[in-house]
């Protein structure tokens, strides 16, 4: 990765998140004046947002508000869409991910992603699925791979259920287990940040509860940014919440504040269900 660049001026309108002592929190990622277009259509409008390290930040908002689009800017996944364009910068521990010369593949190793629909690779077994990120990036040390395999499955709360079935096909698991497998797969490459795009929306409440519990356990080691259309979920598991509407960041703050005493009327209207 290139040296940290000259710090560009922060958007003066951006909210600075403070801890209980009133000091700015250490940040894992920062978005600075990010705007995104699909062709001529503007999807994200000048968003500047702090994402504190080793904490869970939830992004909420009605359908079509740009949550999924924005999160894909954080690991440069939007570049897969033809005619997608971005302006502004995203910083990971001070390094601009959009600086020239930055390899998107390396960005994606440091910022992992779990998708709405679980997608374990069908041609691989459970064990192969978990370590595929390492293996296809050149790691071949068997011992290291096996250690990382067990470690990732334990972190995803799946080890006990699959440790005797690692050779079985990745698609032989239930929906909730498959999603945990995808989480283990993302964790195996040891990212610094884990992005989750509505990971539980296709799962039943029991599977959802298991994943929410696992997220609480993960935040001691990883920074987690989770997009969810389920406000109650955001309230349950996140430390900070950002409310998006029509491509703009309306408000961001600690979850307690957002849900009990938000600054913006729009936020309050959404939280109380006046529109959805």
């Amino acid at each position: 990765m290139p040296q940290p660049e000259v710090v560009e001026p922060r958007d003066p309108g951006a909210t600075v998140l403070l801890n209980t002592e009133g000091e700015p929190l250490p940040l894992a990622m920062e978005a600075n004046n990010v705007s995104m277009w699909y062709g001529a259509k503007r999807a994200i409008d000048n968003v500047s947002m702090d994402m504190p390290g080793k904490a869970v930040t939830a992004i909420i908002g009605p359908s079509g508000c740009g949550k999924s689009t924005f999160i894909r800017a954080l690991n440069r996944m939007h570049e897969l869409v033809p005619h997608a364009r971005i302006e502004g910068s995203v910083f990971l521990h001070g390094q601009n991910l959009y600086a020239s010369g930055v390899d998107p593949a390396i960005v994606r190793r440091r910022v992992g992603m779990v998708f709405q629909k679980s997608n374990p690779f069908p041609t691989m077994s459970i064990g192969e699925n978990v370590i595929v990120g390492l293996r296809l990036n050149g790691v071949s040390d068997r011992k290291f791979l096996n250690e990382r395999l067990e470690q990732s499955l334990r972190m995803a709360a799946l080890w006990g259920e699959v440790k005797d079935d690692l050779h079985k096909s990745g698609t032989s698991l239930s929906g909730g287990q498959q999603q945990r497998l995808c989480i283990a797969r993302a964790l195996a490459v040891e990212p610094e940040v884990l992005l989750m795009d509505e990971p539980c929306s296709a799962l039943d409440p029991i599977a959802t509860a298991k994943i929410e519990e696992l997220i609480q356990g993960l935040k001691t080691r990883y920074t987690i940014i989770i997009v969810t259309h389920n406000m109650q979920q955001a309230g349950r598991i996140s430390d900070f919440t950002a409310f998006f509407y029509m491509g703009r960041l309306i408000e961001i703050g600690s979850t307690t504040k957002i849900f009990t005493n938000p600054n913006e009327k729009q936020t309050e209207d959404y939280i109380t269900g006046r529109f959805g």
Binding site: I106, G133, N137, V189
Partner: protein
């Protein structure tokens, strides 16, 4: 009122039975030619199928015990040569169309491939005749293999492309999100997931060109003896059947039927193989 309803009901039942009967007859009419061909070939050819047929070279007319060993081997050799050209170019081209390129360029390429798929196979033979046979002043197995390979390319290209496009976008996204390089994603994840479909396309293309006769008429040309040098003419099963069928000799006619039976059985076996390759593996409990 009741009688009216009953009449209407009977009329509807009659209409329904009529349509069912019509579609059933159509299904029978579709399968019938296949059955007729297969059984006729079986009946006419089974008499001449013996060990000598598979091991002996053609003998002069009137001498018993001739066979088509060189033609069977020749077809296999030509299929191998055709595969060396057809499979790599077809598969890689299909991958390109599915994963790379721009919408406009790909639309043009697809159109060209579809046109080529419709070109009569004898044209490929004539083209290779002009390019290779005339230049090297000899019929050859190479020329025959090239002609068949050129037929294979657009065939495999389109089937490969379609199968790869069927691989869900989610797998590509998941692989790229792990930081895996794009080309590795395509080779190790996408193509691997589509591999059964690609193999099916290849097998079906082989079955199709295995029976092509016209392109071999002026390229491989046929050979009464074993081929020892690929730059020499080579026998092929469809060619041999053709030569024997238009001859005036009964003995050769019987052998032509036997050859046809071997060819039809070969195509049948390839299709069974395709079924085996694509059988759905039940998930382990």
């Amino acid at each position: 009122m009741q009688t009216q309803r009953k009449d209407h009901h009977s009329w509807r039942k009659l209409k329904s039975a009529l349509i069912s009967g019509l579609t059933f007859c159509s299904a029978v009419l579709v399968i019938a030619p296949l059955g007729l061909v297969f059984f006729h070939v079986l009946k006419s050819g089974i008499g001449a199928i013996n060990l000598e047929f598979f091991t002996n070279l053609p003998k002069p007319v009137g001498v018993p015990g001739g066979g088509m060993a060189n033609a069977i081997v020749g077809t296999l050799v030509l299929l191998t040569l055709a595969s060396i050209i057809g499979i790599p170019i077809g598969v890689l081209g299909g991958v390109f169309l599915a994963e790379y390129g721009t919408a406009r360029v790909n639309a043009v390429l697809r159109f060209i491939a579809d046109v080529l798929n419709g070109v009569p196979s004898i044209i490929w033979g004539v083209v290779v005749y002009g390019l290779i046979v005339l230049r090297f002043k000899s019929f050859s197995a190479y020329a025959g293999g090239l002609a068949l390979g050129l037929i294979m390319i657009p065939l495999i290209l389109r089937t490969t492309e379609e199968v790869i496009l069927l691989v869900p976008v989610g797998y590509r996204e998941a692989a790229l999100a792990l930081g895996i390089a794009r080309w590795k994603t395509i080779v190790q994840i996408v193509v691997k997931t589509a591999s059964r479909g690609i193999i099916t396309g290849i097998l079906l293309a082989l079955a199709r060109i295995g029976g092509e006769t016209a392109p071999l008429l002026f390229t491989a040309f046929g050979n009464r003896f074993w081929n020892h040098d690929l730059s020499e003419p080579i026998a092929a099963l469809p060619l041999q059947i053709f030569t024997y069928a238009i001859s005036p000799y009964d003995d050769w006619h019987r052998q032509a039927w036997a050859g046809a039976l071997v060819l039809v059985t070969g195509v049948f076996c390839v299709n069974v193989l395709v079924r085996i390759v694509t059988r759905v593996r039940t998930a382990s409990a």
